[in-house]
Symmetry: C3
Subunit: 258 residues, 3 copies
């Protein structure tokens, strides 16, 4: 997953104009400069050019952060965190915070609320644009049916956001899987870890590390091909189990891991 091949030339278009993927990223322009765009999974991207001083204090922002870029979604976690991870790598923005509310619009998982910071608004605007674009792509690995949901993510090289959210070693390959109801997540995790020589870095359950979501989640690192194999194994097992509980799970965009 190289940054260059994924990112569209944001300098050349705005979300309010015709452009690539406009059918997926709809911007009716609310007349607010803060609005950057929206995409699938009820994801919105916003900027704040100069954050209010009382909020700055509560958020414990570093002195050199004036502008904020914010991504949040009703559904999804790792996909958006991976998107922000790439956005931070490829811009002057830095990561401020990652929080995972208990959401998913009635399903058993998380939404997300991710704050990035920068010296000025152009830094964070670019980061939000990248994060929106990649959120759309990464949403291809969210699978939802009437019984539950699955989420998968992979990065060839974890950066600041994945390190903060999951203690992923920076510069190493990163793999993620979540399954709901939680029991299917545990079987997926077991199969994934046995499939390849990967190192478990995070094990999460309803009472451990989640916002009481109905999921078992694992994150892992290791050799890039082993991490990819483990993610694909988890996906195969998860899809079989979720299909055994209900109809074939649809996703908001196109699966991209292979």
């Amino acid at each position: 997953m190289s940054g260059e091949s994924i990112l569209f030339p944001y300098e050349e278009h705005e979300y309010t104009r015709e452009g690539i993927n406009m059918e997926n990223i709809y911007n009716p322009n609310p007349g607010l400069p803060e609005f950057v765009g929206r995409t699938v999974l009820d994801t919105v991207g916003l900027v704040i050019p100069s954050i209010d001083v009382a909020l700055r204090r509560e958020m414990k922002l570093p002195d050199d952060v004036n502008a904020l870029g914010v991504i949040s979604s009703r559904t999804g976690a790792a996909g958006q965190i991976c998107a922000v991870d790439e956005a931070v790598k490829n811009t002057n923005a830095t990561l401020v915070s990652v929080e995972l509310p208990r959401d998913t619009k009635g399903w058993g998982g998380h939404g997300n609320y991710i704050v990035m910071g920068g010296r000025d608004v152009s830094d964070v605007r670019q980061a939000v644009e990248i994060a929106l674009e990649l959120t759309y792509r990464n949403a291809g690995e969210v699978y939802i049916n009437s019984a539950g949901h699955l989420e998968f993510a992979y990065s060839a090289s974890a950066g600041e956001a994945l390190n903060t959210a999951f203690s992923a070693p920076v510069g190493q390959a990163f793999g993620f899987m979540a399954g709901s109801p939680a029991a299917i997540g545990l079987v997926m995790a077991d199969k994934a870890l046995k499939s390849a020589g990967v190192t478990l870095i995070r094990y999460m359950t309803p009472d451990r590390g989640t916002s009481h979501s109905n999921e078992v989640i694992i994150a892992f690192t290791g050799d890039a091909s082993a991490v990819k194999t483990a993610v694909l194994t988890a996906r195969e097992v998860g899809l079989a189990l979720l299909c055994a509980m209900g109809e074939y799970p649809e996703g908001p965009s196109t699966p991209y891991l292979s």
Copy 2:
């Protein structure tokens, strides 16, 4: 917002009889003296004339509390707390506890569970009736669309319930706003705080002060007109952003802040 102008003469009718707002507050009378009424947002109002001794111990009730009045809803927080705030001011009931479950029937926010106490059942019954009536009115400032929701509240003079729930200074003006997904709440908060000279008293996010809801929430105090201005600014910004994510948000009753 003066108590007198809002409160209907509860002495003169019961919820089971014809009366003002009966179309909004439906009581099929389950044959239980505990049932007072219900209203929008799946809100129910109940009384317990003399609470069981084991529950009394668990709830750590003061000795002079025998009767309980209870309000709870699947959706909404500040509106119902403001309603109870007025109810406690205008009756002999006192506040026992305010809890905010993670609910909203599949949306990203809170419901509520609010307990009032009194010496006898007539005290708490009157308080529950007032709280139900005001819950209906306050629900006009709840806005829900397919992408997210907004909630606003304003009191010219905070009382016991707002003090307990949000550390609002008693006797001072109180303002509240919540936006979901959380990112839109942050932009609303920033705009509100900059719009007028108000003092931030509570900043809440998915991991801070909420039940892991997908919201940024702020509460603030200050001069009454400044607080009102800040609430209305947040509402304008929030509606613009929520409309940018989906259809115009409907509410269960009529907006009343202006």
Copy 3:
């Protein structure tokens, strides 16, 4: 509630073949030996013959546990815990953990994630089969309408799972009730505790002991007939209140307590 009269002869059929209750427990066989079956309330039953070593460490499993049996559901708590309680009593499986995510598919309660352990997979498979069968039966005491939900459970003799989950005294009668929105749970609890000489063993609210669900929950023990009376009283009150808020609540199977 005696084990013998409830349990079907699992030795004689598999879920993939024709058999008793097959209309309720559907198994399209995903081609994975881990899949045992599914039943109402989006409940799945799975086994792991030999758990991965990294997961074993995270789960702090005892040395003599090699195989895991897992039950989890999007909706329900006490019914599935009671089901596992009987399953553990009647097999060589032991209880590993009980967790209650905030779920119920958009309603105000919990789902569940329950792990059992055993020396080998035949022990836990049998336990999962029993737990699935009893989950179907116990789901008859889950009541859901558009406003909220109720759940009831009763065991003549609590075992390991009820002891772990609710501190129920082993070998004693166990009663459970939950009501949502929370206020109706409090009135149900008050009526139940006053109806018979039972001892309160657990009092749970949105901020206490739950995963921020919109419920008041109590568990209690005592003489078997008193515990049964208290459960039935809570059910009568709860149904009256829930009907006062909306339509008559349907359940996924047939009420069985009487």
